[in-house]
Symmetry: C2
Subunit: 470 residues, 2 copies
């Protein structure tokens, strides 16, 4: 049986030490693909830890794609294409994307809106934000009126770099960071940076806004189907895609996490041509309900092929328009050389307030609060479903994957009919099949964004779904 010296865990949590040790053995090849891992109980006994610790470690490794489980058979080592010693840290995270249906005007009144995935307004840290805003307006007047570099003010880029290191173990220089008024702006700069002659590829199913933006920008945009592990590499080759845009840590809408094996395959695909790049769009990687984040592609990429993009829309509010991208060094150089005539799209006030918010650790505290808040919300909804009659008709998937999960429904109704009936009953819900462009859509799966649904409405919402299914 595998043996690790648990006393060496030091400050690390036991489960994390254990998962890291196993991961090292997988990456070094000591544990071979498909090798069976010890059963939880005897393993726990031999290590002198609790069964929960082993369970947590295994769950973490499953989420990251290092191991897989077969029901009633146990846990097995996954096949990892490239062993690379520099991926020993970090983990995944998840949550849902901005809904296409909430952009304009006021939302109608639903009992529950599982399509809307804006963050809950009540969670915004107004007191702190207002305090910092007053402070910046008072103390940093000179800085407020000095034109920001086009990539954003240095204080903010430094704060972001520090945050990326602390939250995600990413080592990036502030010079690689470009701040913009939301990711839309950054996509437009990215296309200009990479070239209008490049062929872009997006995930199918996926967040349809991404392809819409690429098409509006007049570049070729291919839909690339997914298999169980994420985007199909052979389809990238077949469509001659140069730049692939994806969310490996939490695919939208399926909620899946791309296993490490596919990540390495993707990186080797990118390494094959100087034209190829990966846009890693981490729209919600700060939230983790369970376990720690999977290392980002940017983190394990040693060839400078990954452009990491994220924003503060999910963690603060989508009405605070700040996004950022981390450019590979070569592209960062190109940006600084060729884009100097552009002006940063975020106001200085917002940049300095956000820099302070991150720098003074308010952001970290806020994320922790939000994680608990949403975990509680998710747990309440899951419990409500379990105690209702619909539990016999449904299965829940990817419930650890952030601010949405998948409801697989055993029904004769078409997805369209189901959603229509739900709507008539006051429940706004969208089918997974809605997010497919060209690929064959999976049926009877529905996306449950719970971020904006208050606990008090959950019971009524579930009762409405009962009516449809009974």
């Amino acid at each position: 049986m595998l043996a690790y010296d648990i006393s060496k865990a030091g400050d690390d949590s036991l489960y994390h030490f254990l998962s890291r040790s196993i991961k090292d053995d997988i990456l070094s090849g000591r544990l071979e693909p498909d090798a069976k891992l010890p059963s939880k109980r005897p393993f726990a006994n031999s290590l002198g830890v609790s069964v929960i610790t082993v369970e947590n470690a295994y769950n973490q490794l499953i989420a990251e794609g290092f191991i897989y489980s077969l029901s009633r058979k146990g846990f097995f080592v996954a096949a990892i294409p490239q062993k690379n010693s520099n991926i020993q840290q970090k983990k995944p995270v998840k949550q849902s994307r901005e809904s296409l249906h909430t952009e304009q005007a006021k939302a109608p009144h639903y009992i529950a809106d599982f399509v809307n995935n804006q963050v809950d307004a009540s969670t915004f840290p107004f007191t702190t934000w207002a305090k910092l805003t007053r402070k910046v307006l008072c103390e940093q007047q000179r800085e407020l009126l000095t034109r920001s570099p086009n990539s954003g003010v240095q204080k903010l880029r430094k704060s972001i770099a520090k945050m990326l290191l602390e939250f995600h173990g990413m080592r990036v220089s502030p010079e690689q960071i470009v701040v913009g008024a939301g990711t839309d702006c950054l996509y437009a700069w990215l296309v200009q940076l990479l070239g209008f002659d490049k062929k872009f590829g997006v995930e199918d199913p996926g967040y349809s806004k991404i392809s819409k933006i690429y098409r509006k920008l007049n570049v070729v945009c291919n839909y690339i189907p997914l298999d169980e592990n994420g985007i199909c590499i052979d389809q990238l080759e077949e469509t001659c895609t140069d730049v692939v845009h994806l969310s490996p840590s939490h695919h939208f809408p399926t909620g899946k996490v791309m296993p490490v094996s596919r990540r390495y395959e993707l990186l080797s695909w990118a390494a094959k041509s100087s034209n190829r790049y990966i846009v890693e769009d981490e729209y919600d990687s700060e939230f983790r309900m369970v376990g720690r984040p999977i290392p980002s592609l940017q983190n394990i990429d040693v060839q400078d092929k990954t452009i990491y993009i994220n924003s503060f829309s999910k963690t603060l509010a989508s009405t605070v328009r700040v996004g950022y991208m981390v450019l590979p060094k070569t592209l960062a150089k190109k940006f600084h050389e060729e884009f100097s005539f552009y002006i940063c799209t975020v106001s200085n006030l917002e940049q300095y307030v956000l820099a302070k918010f991150i720098g003074e650790a308010h952001y970290e505290k806020h994320i922790n609060r939000m994680r608990n808040f949403y975990r509680h919300r998710r747990d309440t909804l899951l419990e409500t479903i379990r105690q209702s009659k619909i539990r016999d008709y449904i299965e829940i998937a990817e419930e650890d994957a952030g601010l949405h999960f998948i409801l697989k429904v055993n029904t004769e109704l078409s997805d369209e009919e189901f959603c229509e009936r739900a709507l008539k009953n006051g429940v706004h819900i969208r089918a997974l099949s809605d997010y497919y462009a060209e690929a064959e859509p999976s049926q009877h799966e529905f996306i449950i964004n719970y971020s904006s649904v208050s606990e008090s409405r959950m019971k009524r919402a579930v009762q409405q779904l009962e009516k449809i299914l009974e």
Copy 2:
């Protein structure tokens, strides 16, 4: 009581003749600061005009900052810092464009930087801005977290529409207005709206950033030469330009104002094809040193061919990233139909604060203050030049044209040499010839942006120029 011979108004409107006459008396010193002007009714009677005429004349003078009113007390002459005989003409107003050289990092230390055209930091209305920010953060939390329509929050668009009506006589609906994080963002949307197949045309000489952006966006961008009256229409035809981008109210860098005749020629050029549009980029039309604004193209366009673009970079600060465009109704419809997936690029906080700032008349007061501030700065510089030895070598042009004027220099030095020697002497200056792309550049003309040069440095700066010319 003041007496003017109204019969001399000629073709001029009565109110305009009256306001011009009073202004002349203020500028010449005949009317002293804080002198009370006649009440409207008796004044109208004595002149033989209607009360409305006097009222309109006073309103114009108030808007321009020449007089002020105290409620229930009447109208008084404002303190105009320096009376100067050569500003008795009327003209538009103007100001310089954002320098290409100030985008990154800190500016080196010059005695005077006539290239930098950022607004003077000390003029930003911090107290009011901070007060309104606190108020919005406190009172509008719900609105702050409700996603803005992609065209901007309604309160702001309404404020802008009202302001356009009051300042420029433009009648536009808030639905035609699209707010974005600076004009750069708006240009990118505009290209997507008009189509990547369109051929764009920019003024030569011109603000080089515009052509850079169009080229980065991968659209054809022609340089169109100017004649005395502005852009050459025949060249638009010859180059098959579809969309022409220009600043008729204040061309950069020449400072010229497009006469009404050319404006109408331009509109009839646009009317000849459904593909043709005019982008009217009014980067500084709020400032008027003297006289009334020429009506915008948008204002006289009855065919819905003009897209009006402006921002708050010059009037507030370039670090407040808010610009807007007024779309013709057909394009506005297209925008609302096809661009709904885009998110507004300006944070809600900034939108609501700005809406309040405009709505509560702070903006109007601020503009008036700024106009006086810059007029004083300009007059001081002109006076310094006139009292120096360089007056024998130079001629000044377009000095009423806003925040920059043209210095025509009688010198054997090439433009490059002149600028280099100036730089060695601590004076940052740029030649007009620098702004030509393809057209034959005019020589020995230099652009003097005075907006960021404090009065205390002007004498030293002019002395340095003397050294070069003597």
